[in-house]
Symmetry: C2
Subunit: 300 residues, 2 copies
Amino acid sequence: MLDVCLPGTGGMMPLPERWLSCCWIEYQGKALLVDCGEGTQIALKKAGCKLSRLDILLVTHFHADHIAGLPGLLLTLGNHDKKTPLLIVGPQHLEAVVSSLMIIAPALPYPVELIELKNGTEGLLEDDELSVSYLPLEHGIPCFGYRVSLRRKPVFNPEKAGQLGVPKNLFKTLHAGTPVRLDDGRQIEPRMVLDGERRPLSVTYITDSVPTAPMADFARDSDLLVCEGMYGETEMRDKMEEKGHMVFADSARLASMAGAGRLWLTHFSPAMKDPETYIGNARAVFRNTEIGYDGIKTTL
Amino acid sequence: MLDVCLPGTGGMMPLPERWLSCCWIEYQGKALLVDCGEGTQIALKKAGCKLSRLDILLVTHFHADHIAGLPGLLLTLGNHDKKTPLLIVGPQHLEAVVSSLMIIAPALPYPVELIELKNGTEGLLEDDELSVSYLPLEHGIPCFGYRVSLRRKPVFNPEKAGQLGVPKNLFKTLHAGTPVRLDDGRQIEPRMVLDGERRPLSVTYITDSVPTAPMADFARDSDLLVCEGMYGETEMRDKMEEKGHMVFADSARLASMAGAGRLWLTHFSPAMKDPETYIGNARAVFRNTEIGYDGIKTTL
């Protein structure tokens, strides 16, 4: 299971009624955060995200609305007794930016590890459960989209197991991938009772970019695409193209081309008071669109 | 007139229900801010403070809860069309700290000017209206208290003016300090119709320090003393002394020794959910104490 939450959904500057965009993804007791603007630590608390679980911070780019909350978050993690390393991933010059901002957070009770991304698209993190990949975006300064995937165990087929005479108390072991030996001496292999691989669960997060050709492949078949919609009005497209952003219709088109399960819009302009007004502009292109709001949550 | 507001009253870390401590002082269309932690720009908006009026930022010290909001504030001032200089005043190494934090706010449409304080107590800013002075505090790292004073015109005595035969339409000119000549040729000097100097209006802001001997003189006769009260319980005094902070009773004692008009407590520990519980510990020492809360305002 992947628990996904958008503690904030605003762009450019934090507002009394809207925190800055970020995305919290929780999996098996650990958590990953995308972006950390001013106030994100407060937004996380308000949304009920458990800071003590945070292991990985993915930074899309170094505009202040995506990174200014870093020193405060680092200190607050320390105050929450974090001892395990925090991995921070971000564009070129990550080390310079993080060390500059840490001038006001010089001593932490846990190690900070850094990965600076190059302009490729290889997988970034790969372990038994989680994989993270990234895509360079177009926003005037280096900026990356991220895709977070959680591998799932193959489906267990209790019928097959029953036919083989496997007692129920061994089902869990087989499902976890470990062979078992029955009382009559027969060895049962997991593949004999499993129904093949399942597609991983995926969330793709894309913000602060004009639409680009590789986006659709990058987000292909994501269960959830979280994508910026700086403005709802399609007429704002040219102006947003200039500023390196997308409108609702752009994001919906991407969700449609990628075959995403759902689309959450985020990173709204401070000038757009009520994004719901424009949901029609997205749903006309991609039906399964929701307007993100601070604290929106789902479990995949 | 001095308009004073505490947009935030928290210490250590920003909370969903309490912004970090800062103080907004407005005088004759201009404004001065003391401290700028994470989220202060949001707190200012919430409290109705007009960012476009901000000319001076006084920083007490470089712990993140007092400075981490700087890059966001600088950028937002730019987005509010600020063109006039912003003066930032703070402890030694101000330039290093500001330039480090500005790695994510590299281009501003207005100049930033800096004054690094030394360990004296001289007046800092002196103009016709406003004067700002500072006092080194004791907090483990360099930290300063500030006193902001607004000069007031002497009291105009309309009786004296009437006896001298000054017509009413010249009262304002004389009150502003300009001599006038009457129709009969007599010259009237301002001192002939004014009742002498009035004490300036003063706000003193002291936070993040153990009590020190010079504080009372520094805050002498302040109309308003804003002072930290990290905890309400007097039993916390020894622990706070270690950590470089004050409890309610310390602040009240200072207000009393200084002969302040009023005391506002601020900079509450995140662990102290309801500071009102402990107001008795302050009022037993200094009756005119109020517990600060986010958005508290007054006009002096």
